[in-house]
């Protein structure tokens, strides 16, 4: 979707402020929320693409006002309610609904290490990649209202395939319960001038990982 999250190339956000000796978490609640997300993810009711989309649909004025982990909180609540792990009423009241059965947590402490170990997006399925390293490609001009990983600034732009990553889960379908539909993933280099015009450096380039469905032969 053409949301506020798709920030590449925007102006007006100011300087990048670096913090010296920054802690991993800035408050205990950030750490608890970070952990809650993983523990609730262990129920297997959603995937990473759906989680990203749940943050992308935060209204833009809220998105910009919220801190990073406040967005995570909003996204987590949206997902838990959507899949029925909790009800909106339970979130409001912060109490389990009367008569709900107590369940056994999906993530036991001794399983944490295993669960955090791996969650690969590469799929071992046969595929005939349409493009090869060195090919010139042009990205489609798409404006889906759902999840996509083709940012606005790189649509309808010409680039060169510089690397083939294998067959990866396709976020645009995976985020919406339409299946993984794994397909070839490429790293594509765009000259800075192709993206930003003549004022950009002639030498510089921006690389994006793009799925085959985003690309046409140029």
């Amino acid at each position: 979707m053409n949301g506020i999250h798709d920030m590449g190339g925007m102006h007006g956000f100011g300087r990048v402020e670096r913090e010296i000796d920054e802690p991993v978490f800035h408050a205990p609640w950030e750490a608890r929320l970070f952990a809650l997300r993983h523990a609730m993810g262990a129920w297997g009711k959603w995937n990473i693409d759906g989680s990203r989309y749940a943050r992308e649909i935060i209204p833009p004025e809220d998105y910009l006002r919220m801190s990073y982990y406040e967005r995570w909180l909003a996204g987590l609540v949206t997902q838990m309610v959507d899949v029925g792990l909790v009800s909106a009423e339970e979130i409001r009241s912060a109490r389990p609904a009367r008569g709900t059965n107590n369940v056994t947590p999906a993530l036991a402490p001794n399983a944490v290490e295993r669960v955090l170990a791996r969650s690969p997006a590469l799929r071992d399925v046969p595929a005939q990649p349409r493009f090869r390293v060195g090919d010139t490609v042009i990205t489609h001009n798409i404006n889906p209202t759902g999840h996509t990983r083709l940012p606005r600034y790189a649509r309808a732009k010409k680039g060169t395939v510089v690397r083939y990553h294998g067959v990866h889960v396709f976020p645009d379908t995976s985020a919406h319960g339409h299946g993984e539909q794994p397909q070839p993933l490429y790293c594509v280099r765009f000259d800075a001038r192709e993206l930003w015009g003549e004022s950009a450096s002639r030498r510089d380039g921006v690389h994006l990982d793009l799925w085959e469905a985003y690309l046409a032969a140029a």
């Binding site: 920030m7 590449g8 990048v16 935060i58 940012p151 793009l210």
Partner: protein, 212 residues
């Protein structure tokens, strides 16, 4: 989800206190009471990311690449395997690519769409990496961003920005600073900063360690 100020079907569904600390506390209590989460599992997750995983891992990879040419070649050819060889695997590091800085090429990593970052080798990302200024500007004005970070690159240096749009994660292999020829791998590890492995700075022989 529709945004409607006239009802409570807001993204956060909540009449709970606006203060996130209180809301998260209430949420954790609810989820524990329903049996959906075990608080001890939460403790174990936090312990992992606060104590076990951090930029020291990446610094060890870089120091080894500087001192072991065969490893460096494996890292550049297949970073996922080379990094796994050192024991660094996990969420947000399943598919790794290492990109090498040289006198003529400077690499810099961003995620314009969210906050993708190679957790197993660098830990969780700093706030600036997740911030709107960095996400918006890294792709259109990388030289301006680097200048604010104190790094002025010559116009004949090529900047390669890597926007992390897939589950592939990028690690910058910074240049080994001059005057470090006599240092061993442990001493070199101490020189490698987190930000140098994002491509936000160049290293000097008097680095401050992998905190920044």
């Amino acid at each position: 989800m529709p945004h409607d100020h006239h009802d409570h079907d807001h993204t956060d569904h909540s009449d709970l206190p606006a203060e996130p600390a209180l809301r998260v506390k209430a949420l954790e209590s609810l989820l524990v009471e329903k049996g959906l989460v075990d608080p001890a599992a939460l403790d174990a997750i936090i312990e992992t990311y606060e104590r076990k995983i951090g930029p020291r891992n990446g610094a060890r990879i870089v120091a080894r690449a500087w001192t072991d040419p065969a490893f460096k070649q494996r890292l550049l050819d297949d970073a996922t395997s080379a990094i796994a060889e050192m024991g660094f695997v996990g969420r947000q590091g399943e598919h790794m690519v290492a990109v090498e800085n040289t006198a003529k090429v400077h690499n810099m990593v961003v995620c314009t769409l969210c906050s993708c970052y190679p957790w197993p080798v660098l830990g969780l990302p700093p706030v600036w990496y997740k911030s709107a200024p960095y996400r918006s500007r890294a792709v259109i004005d990388p030289r301006g961003v680097l200048r604010e970070f104190g790094l002025e690159l010559d116009s004949d240096v090529e900047i390669r920005v890597w926007d992390s749009t897939s589950e592939v994660r990028y690690l910058v292999l910074p240049e080994r600073p001059p005057g470090t020829e006599t240092l061993n791998a442990d001493q070199l590890t101490d020189l490698v900063t987190r930000d140098s492995m994002i491509g936000a700075e160049k290293l000097r022989a008097t680095g401050e360690g992998a905190q920044r």
